[in-house]
């Protein structure tokens, strides 16, 4: 009997993976510097960005140029201090080291953006606003933006949770019961493939409020992929699992809850992921057309006023929210499906 323990093997495999991720990091500039060389460069790049804000005069009328420069210097200082403090910061330092090339490149990008818009006008105004005007949106239009974020999150969350729950339950019932399948399958085939946005005009006058209509549409967009993938997951569970459980005394409820559903979970998460994507699309369209709130509506409103900086600001927030939602979903999956090997890291 070998003496190594399974948990040790797992830990080893994990640290090996981390090591691989570290050594494979892009743009290893730390050749001539013993440690944190890239960090120093990143810090310098941020200083450069700050200087670029102050050196040339703005070609337009923006109020946040000095604050932006100050923020750039603060960031540069923070990166520098963290780099100097080095290994005393432990895991934080490791994270910084890994991200240093990215910090460097983003400073360069911001500098270029600043020069191309606010300083030399290489890109036409007002379609390409400079960074300081987006900062201006975040500081001056904060209440409205926050309201929009809250409205969007509420709508999305409500519709998604309803759609995912209904889809999951429907999928399990179709996969499990022949008679449910007989009745639900044709309906699913008929209605499911229709893009949820096609229902918009009907939904907005049949539902009591545009909010409930949008919730319904988001739930629909989420529910279809979740149903189909849950169903296919349950249907593809190998019969031998059921045989094993039955010979060990399992009742039908055990077979559903402890065999069919766990075996189908990887499929369910693919469905949840697809549903998230299509529900984002519905959310934005529904907000633009019907609901007079939320980030989609904010975008629409900004366009109406030719407030391009507001549009970019809202887009950035939106992308952070969507990406955050997907990260959350993947985290949940990694936690629940820890038994799977080789899952995609988001």
């Amino acid at each position: 009997m070998s003496t190594y323990s399974a948990s040790k093997t797992v830990a080893l495999a994990q640290s090996a993976e981390e090591g691989a991720a570290l050594s494979g990091r892009p743009l290893s500039l730390a050749v001539s510097f013993p440690a944190g060389g890239t960090g120093v460069f990143a810090s310098l790049a941020w200083v450069g960005f700050g200087i670029s804000c102050l050196w040339w005069p703005d070609i337009g009328d923006w109020t946040r140029t000095h604050q932006l420069a100050a923020a750039a210097f603060v960031i540069a200082g923070a990166i520098f201090l963290a780099t100097v403090a080095g290994s005393r910061l432990g895991r934080f330092n490791a994270g910084l080291q890994r991200r240093a090339p990215w910090l460097l490149v983003s400073a360069l990008f911001l500098t270029l953006w600043e020069a191309a818009t606010a300083k030399f006008g290489w890109l036409p105004l007002p379609f390409f606003p400079p960074p300081q005007s987006i900062i201006e949106v975040y500081t001056d239009d904060l209440p409205k933006l926050l309201d929009s974020i809250i409205a969007s999150v509420k709508l999305q969350l409500g519709g998604y949770v309803i759609g995912a729950t209904v889809g999951f339950l429907t999928g399990v019932s179709i996969g499990w019961s022949r008679s449910v399948g007989y009745w639900v399958h044709p309906v699913l085939r008929f209605i499911g493939p229709l893009p949820a946005t096609a229902w918009l005009p009907i939904a907005f006058f049949t539902f009591p409020s545009s909010w409930s209509a949008s919730t319904f549409l988001i739930a629909l967009a989420t529910g279809f992929p979740v149903t189909v993938l849950t169903w296919s997951g349950v249907a593809s569970v190998s019969n031998s699992y059921y045989d094993v459980a039955r010979t060990l005394g399992a009742k039908p409820s055990f077979l559903v809850l402890k065999v069919a559903i766990p075996a189908a979970l990887p499929h369910v998460f693919v469905g949840l992921f697809m549903g998230l994507g299509s529900s984002f699309a519905v959310l934005v369209v529904a907000e633009m057309i019907g609901v007079k709130a939320g980030l989609g509506w904010y975008l629409q409103w900004a366009q109406g006023w030719a407030a391009y900086a507001n549009m970019y600001a809202a887009l950035i927030v939106m992308s952070l929210l969507c990406s955050g939602a997907i990260t959350l979903l993947f985290r949940t999956r990694d936690r629940l499906l820890i038994w799977q090997k080789g899952v995609v890291k988001w």
């Binding site: 948990s7 797992v10 190998s238 045989d243 094993v244 010979t247 005394g249 399992a250 075996a263």
Partner: protein, 265 residues
Amino acid sequence: MVAHALAEAVTYPAVGASLDVERISHAFDIDGSVLPVLDDVNFSVKPGEFIALLGPSGCGKSTLLRLVAGLEAPRSGVLREDGDPVTGPFPSRVVVFQDPTLFPWRTVWNNVALGLEAQGILKSQRQRVDAALDLVGLSQFRNAYPHQLSGGMAQRVALARALVNDPKILILDEPLGKLDSLTRITMQAEIVALWQRKGFTTLLVTHDVEEALFLANRVIVFSDRPARIKADIAVDRPYPRHRGDPRLAELRRNILGLLGLDATW
């Protein structure tokens, strides 16, 4: 009867049950045509006996085991456990399948606990899971997932998952078929030791004549599909047996002859 048997399984160490296979015939429908698989198979097993089933590949051995387990009903004939007809699966008859079929989403411990959990008695019987894992020497791997195990270890977990239920009849479908010869020999000895200690009735399907002779009280040889009993041979040697035993070699020659392999001898 069910409640009674369950209570018994919980409180006493299992003692083997008798098994009567009475004139069993079975067939499958494949594309509209009927494929006969078992033809009037008739034998009975005394409590605590160790029976090995031998036969050509595809003759219907696994099918017979599925019928004994109660996973399918035979087209004709009756199966009796301790005189009561078999009507469905029940944890007093536990199968170790040809593949280990561990649940990949459960740790080793939770896989072994499956039977007790399904019967709703896990809470009070957790130590039985630990004991079964000890028995197959995998206590260290209790928190590992199946994909972290070797093939032999997975097969041992499957064995523990069966044994934890204290079965009266243990049904083994080529449990050692995929193991290397070294692990095989060790596990054969382990199975004999377990069987002698616990006293359950055992049905073992194997392709390996030597394995059958090393383990079983009786070897039943089947014909080609549809399976019919060709011979029922008592192996009258005490345990522990020795592989070089001349009596076993003689029986081996007989059985290989029955399976149509005398040319090799």
